[in-house]
């Protein structure tokens, strides 16, 4: 019986095989990188000697632990985006981490070893102000959360609320800080700006108000910015107008004592206190920031303030001693990297009590010259060890982990968690290939020299081939695992099928990356300083690698979204180096940019920029280009979209590089607003002009390269009256080709526009579900002008077919696959909020799907209409490699027609290849070369032998 059960189990196991990817192909063609985002709070997990973790809470609402040895993510929790998942505060106690999330909405405690949730409590509503751990008799048992009108105390062990108390006079007093010194009292400090400080002391045990008082402080406006608690319940505040410190004893609460400071030319004042343990009182030492990079360490000693040391750090960090041994008592230390020549930074540790530098703690490390300046440091020094570890965060969101003495253990580029736009650029040819190419490219100079050139290049080729053979032989002897496949700048070259490309990624922090698409390794990075925080980026490839010896060239248009002012960054996408070509200065706000298909004499495509005066400037703007532009001016059209006024307008270039408006379409903004305008991708190829129908006639596609899909959403959001509008406009003539309205629908709308179809996804408010709709355009049974397409000469309106479907999930982003020649069938790549990427065949989104299958539709391979699109598990191209918060999908063709390269980016980055029509042009991995060659050989010999035999037989017959 047991055998039978075993057998049945086996049957089930075998039946449930996943078809999407073979097990041995996992990670072969794809890779994923996980990121956490810009760090907001950071703690070393120091409660255990052997701990190898650093805990991070980031601005991307991620709470994660990194392995300090390798920098890998040990575990990661991704919360909701936006303010709902915002991490307000992060407190660390032993192996528990307490987080306040979503403006005081939720209080969570995490177990840091495995990243499990200990408990979670939903807090009462109210805007979050501050939180602190509350200790008593040396142990921390509670956490206090201060809100606008109330304070609550929770047990650390289970999150239960111990007590909650309303704050007195909360309508006039702005309570900002909560503090506990570990003696059974919780102090809440509030301020009435420019009037007085309110101090309320609660009992930890039952929340009873023990003391309540107000102290005059007319100069004070905000407590967290200018006050700090030091020593034994001593509040120290700084007043930057009178340049003096004020002290207030919280236990007595009489009045503030003024201590004037002897400083001149004060820049700003900022106070930093040093708190070793939440159960204990803070130190009597504190920092005062006097300038952008000047700190002084002060000591408060029985009413007197003593200066211990003057620092000039770039940034600093404070640490707490995790348990106190007398010999290392209060070893609280500070760090100060100084930027020296060639970007070397030094870190020193100081004793906080005395201000003296600790011996043998100087650490020098070199910063990446293409990175940003350091912004924040965190360090951990264990008591029994001499060495210590530092994590430095730089302005470009990179995390560098350094171990004494100056050894960089790892670097994480957290800027990649926020990729805004990207391009894939072909790698250059190898030196030898380029040599050959160059031979044909150059002008002829005599017969003899040509012969010599040819001979020399052949020799080089031979040499390269021998070297290749030798390498093959050498590698074959080594075990497979030792064969290095790492890639560096030197051996970057295009592979046989152009499957390996350079991914140029632009991130929100202004850092550019060049990533090898095969391995995911970062080959170059470049940090652009002075990028406005709300910048919009547009990356364009001006010259590809195909024009040796001219280097490839990418141009990044950086536009400040508020002012419209823009700048250009021109660089080489393979090496990341800034180009020697100086980009033009752009004094006027830029409205539109467009890449023209024609090139200058150096094979760089011409970029046109239109400013707010509707004047056009070209880059590069050589004489040749300007001359070309003059000739082509009447055929250059462009459009502008002003969504605030609902205006779409078309312009034509004039020979003097000014423009004239030629068409205008205005959508009243009180009815609907334009949410997106999508054209077609310029590098898209359509292989087939039409579709063969069941009766062998041809239905021609309407392939207008200038077609724009304009999506609008109604301003009225009532679920009965809201709608989504879709309009197809010719970008040259402004002619509205089709205008449709999806009633009782709402955004966000995702659109893909390609070939002769537009696919969009919306939320149906009536049925409360996500729906897909597809529009296809056909010219009909005959083409109007089959030789060339001109928007100016297409008087007939195309046939429009549309069909809609139900989709079982909401989606994050959508893109269509792209292949070299467009022969391969198309798939839609849909990023789901669950982290999966679905490759949905376009075949399922076909408005010609019939209600009832007929003979003709079967001939045409049309699937009968079904209103629901199922998501099949084998359609997930990223199997179990979840991609958090997919924001965009980029597709690029490869050298193989069957293969499309896909990059999905969001919090994570994922790269893979997809084969929409299977690998029709590739032999399988396990193809039996031996068999086929042996069969061939055998056949060859068989023919030889039989030929011989036949000859003998013929001879014999002749003799007879």
């Amino acid at each position: 019986m047991a055998k039978l059960i075993l057998l049945l189990l086996k049957c089930i196991l075998f039946c449930g095989t996943v078809y999407a990817v073979f097990e041995d192909q996992v990670g072969k063609f794809d890779w994923r990188q996980q990121y956490v985002g810009k760090v907001r709070f950071c703690h070393f997990d120091g409660h255990m000697q052997s701990s190898k973790k650093v805990l991070l809470a980031t601005e991307s609402n991620v709470f994660a632990a990194l392995n300090t040895r390798t920098g890998e993510v040990l575990w990661r929790h991704v919360d909701k985006t936006g303010p709902e998942g915002n991490i307000d505060a992060f407190l660390q106690n032993g192996q528990d981490s307490v987080l306040v999330v979503g403006n005081g909405r939720v209080l969570r405690s995490w177990e840091t070893n495995i990243g499990g949730l200990n408990w979670e409590v939903v807090l009462d509503s109210g805007s979050f102000q501050s939180t602190c751990l509350v200790g008593q008799q040396g142990t921390v048992k509670n956490v206090a959360v201060l809100k606008k009108t109330a304070i609550s105390l929770h047990y650390l062990s289970n999150g239960h609320q111990k007590w909650i108390e309303n704050l007195p006079d909360s309508d006039t007093v702005d309570y900002q800080t909560v503090y506990s010194g570990g003696n059974g009292e919780v102090y809440v400090l509030g301020v009435v700006p420019h009037s007085h400080i309110a101090v309320v002391a609660f009992s930890v045990d039952d929340g009873e108000i023990l003391k309540q008082s107000s102290v005059e402080a007319p100069w004070l406006s905000s407590i967290p910015e200018s006050c700090q608690i030091v020593d034994q319940e001593m509040l120290i505040c700084v007043d930057s107008t009178t340049m003096s410190l004020y002290t207030l004893d919280l236990t007595l609460q009489l009045q503030m004592n003024q201590i004037p400071l002897q400083v001149k030319n004060v820049y700003i004042f900022l106070l930093c206190g040093i708190t070793p343990n939440p159960a204990k009182q803070p130190l009597s030492e504190f920092f005062l920031q006097l300038g952008p990079d000047r700190y002084v360490l002060l000591q408060f000693n029985s009413g007197q303030i003593v200066m211990l040391r003057d620092f000039k750090p770039v940034c600093n960090a404070f640490s707490k001693q995790h348990f106190s041994i007398l010999t290392f008592r209060l070893q609280n230390v500070c760090y100060s990297p100084r930027l020296q020549y060639f970007n070397a930074s030094t870190i020193n540790l100081y004793n906080a009590e005395t201000g003296r530098r600790l011996l043998d703690t100087t650490l020098i490390f070199t910063m990446d010259p293409n990175g940003g300046k350091p912004e924040r440091v965190t360090f951990l020094k264990k008591d029994d060890s001499v060495g210590y570890r530092v994590m430095v965060q730089t302005k470009d969101h990179a995390l560098t982990f350094i171990q004494q003495p100056g050894r960089v253990l790892w670097t994480r580029e957290e800027a990649l968690s926020d990729v805004l736009t990207m391009e894939m650029v072909d790698l250059p040819l190898t030196g030898t290939q380029a040599e050959l190419e160059g031979e044909f490219g150059k002008k002829t100079d005599g017969l003899m020299s040509m012969v010599f050139k040819r001979l020399s290049s052949q020799l080089i080729l031979l040499q390269a081939w021998i070297a290749h053979l030798w390498k093959l032989f050498y590698d074959a002897r080594k075990p497979r695992s030792q064969v290095k496949s790492d890639i560096s700048m030197e051996n970057l070259s295009r592979d046989e099928f152009n499957l390996q490309k350079m991914m140029v990624m632009v991130t929100a922090s202004g850092k550019l990356f060049g990533i090898d698409s095969k391995t995911g390794g970062i080959l170059w990075k470049h940090y652009l300083e002075n990028i406005p925080s709300n910048a919009g980026f547009k990356l364009m490839v001006q010259r590809t690698t195909a024009h040796f010896p001219h280097p490839p060239q990418c141009t990044l248009l950086i536009k400040d979204k508020d002012t419209g002012l823009a700048s250009l960054h021109v660089f080489n996408p393979i090496f990341g180096k800034m180009s020697h070509v100086t980009p033009p200065a752009l004094p006027q706000p830029i409205l539109q940019s467009l890449m023209l298909p024609f090139m200058d004499q150096d094979y760089a495509k011409v970029l046109l920029l239109i400013d707010d005066q509707y004047k056009v400037s070209a880059f590069p703007s050589t004489k040749y280009v300007l001359q070309q532009l003059q000739e082509m001016a009447p055929t250059i059209f462009f459009f502008l979209v002003d969504s605030s006024q609902g205006r779409l307008s078309g312009y034509r270039l004039r020979t003097d590089l000014s423009t004239e408006q030629i068409w205008e379409v205005i959508l009243p903004t009180e009815i609907q607003k334009i949410v997106s305008v999508k054209g077609k991708r310029p590098n898209e190829h359509v292989h087939s002009q039409g579709r063969v129908m069941g009766d062998r006639s041809v239905l021609y596609k309407y392939l207008n390269p200038n077609l724009l899909a304009v999506v609008t959403e109604s301003t009225d959001l009532h679920q009965e009256r809201s709608f989504v509008g879709i309009m197809l406009i010719d970008g040259v003539t402004g002619r509205i080709i089709h205008e449709a309205v999806q009633r009782k629908a709402r955004g966000p709308v995702h659109v893909v526009h390609s070939e002769n179809w537009v696919v969009y996804e919306y939320w149906s408010t009536k049925s409360r579900r996500n729906e897909f709709s597809v529009i296809e355009l056909y010219e009909g049974m005959e083409l109007y002008n089959s030789t060339a397409f001109s928007s100016l000469d297409r008087p007939l309106v195309p046939q429009v077919l549309q069909q809609s479907y139900i989709f079982p999930s909401s989606i994050s982003t959508m893109e269509a696959t792209l292949t070299e020649k467009g022969i391969t069938s198309r798939h839609l790549l849909i990023g789901l909020p669950s982290g999966g990427i679905v490759s949905l065949p376009k075949m399922f989104l076909d408005p010609r799907r019939p209600e009832m299958a007929s003979e003709q539709s079967r001939e045409e391979n049309l699937i009968p209409y079904a209103p629901e699109l199922m998501i099949r598990t084998e359609w997930f191209i990223n199997y179990n490699q979840t991609i958090s918060r997919v924001r965009g999908i980029y597709t690029a063709p490869s050298g193989l027609e069957s293969t499309c390269l896909v990059v999905a980016y969001g919090l994570d980055i994922y790269h893979t290849r997809v084969y929409p029509s299977k690998q029709f042009d590739v032999l399988k991995d396990d193809y039996d070369y031996m068999l086929i060659s042996s069969v061939l050989l055998a056949l060859f010999f068989a023919t030889m032998i039989s030929k011989r035999l036949a000859e003998v037989k013929l001879l014999n017959r002749a003799w007879r």
Binding site: C11, W663, E664, L667, I671, S714, R735, N785, P795
Partner: protein
């Protein structure tokens, strides 16, 4: 979709009284220096209401304009038209007009070579605002054919229509369910197909399973039986 067109515009004078809608000017411009100078071409009679319709009453091209149009066509200039933005659903006359114009263009040579045969389409949005105008000529190409201006460039031969957005279809669940039910009924009539997989093939499956059990018991290795069992199970 509501699409009304009025084939010829010559007989429109008498109709004016019948229209309880509004009349807006249709202006055109064709200049040698391509700086738009709009002149009245005709007037559009727009009938407001649920199903808007439109008709056109337009003038002939003057002698002067005809030569100018041919000259503009010779330098590949543009022939532009414009209509004011209007709101077709408004009850009061004062609410019709809004700021600005909607413009469109066609190549002047196409206008000449098509002998002034143009197709003008007015587009409205859901609530009846005029949002765009488009003009094409039939035929649309410029081939450089000589045109006798007296005969062919006098009268506009305009096809005019007004188009409102179409309602995009939603998923058609009702029809699909109906079809499924029909198929289900068809199946129900055929009781032989109702039998389950096991019920139909038990006589093959049971001996196979037994055989596998026996062979498995003999050589004590369950691994060999798995593949066969799988084949049987399917």
């Amino acid at each position: 979709m509501s699409r009304h067109w009025i084939g010829d515009t010559l007989a429109s004078d008498g109709l004016e009284a019948e229209f309880n809608g509004l009349s807006v000017p249709l202006e055109h411009s064709f200049e040698l220096d391509d700086v738009a100078k709009f002149q009245l071409r005709g007037s559009l009679m727009l009938k407001t209401g649920r199903e808007p319709s439109v008709s056109l009453n337009q003038n002939q091209l003057s002698e002067e304009d005809r030569t100018k149009l041919k000259e503009v066509a010779a330098v590949d200039g543009l022939y532009r038209i414009r209509v004011p933005r209007v709101f077709l659903q408004a009850d009061k006359q004062t609410e019709w007009q809004t700021e600005g114009h909607l413009t469109a263009f066609v190549r002047a040579c196409a206008m000449v070579e098509s002998h002034l045969s143009d197709v003008i389409t007015l587009h409205t949005d859901v609530s009846g605002y005029l949002i765009g105008v488009s003009i094409v000529t039939l035929p649309g190409a410029c081939r450089g054919i000589e045109v006798e201006d007296e005969v062919d460039l006098e009268v506009f031969n305009t096809t005019l229509s007004i188009m409102a957005p179409v309602n995009a279809p939603g998923p058609e669940t009702a029809l699909f369910i109906q079809r499924m039910e029909q198929e289900f009924e068809k199946k129900g009539k055929n009781p032989q197909e109702q039998k389950s997989f096991f019920a139909k093939y038990w006589m093959y499956i049971v001996p196979l399973v037994l055989f596998l059990m026996m062979s498995g018991a003999q050589d004590q290795s369950g691994g060999g039986g798995g593949g066969g069992g799988n084949g049987g199970g399917r």
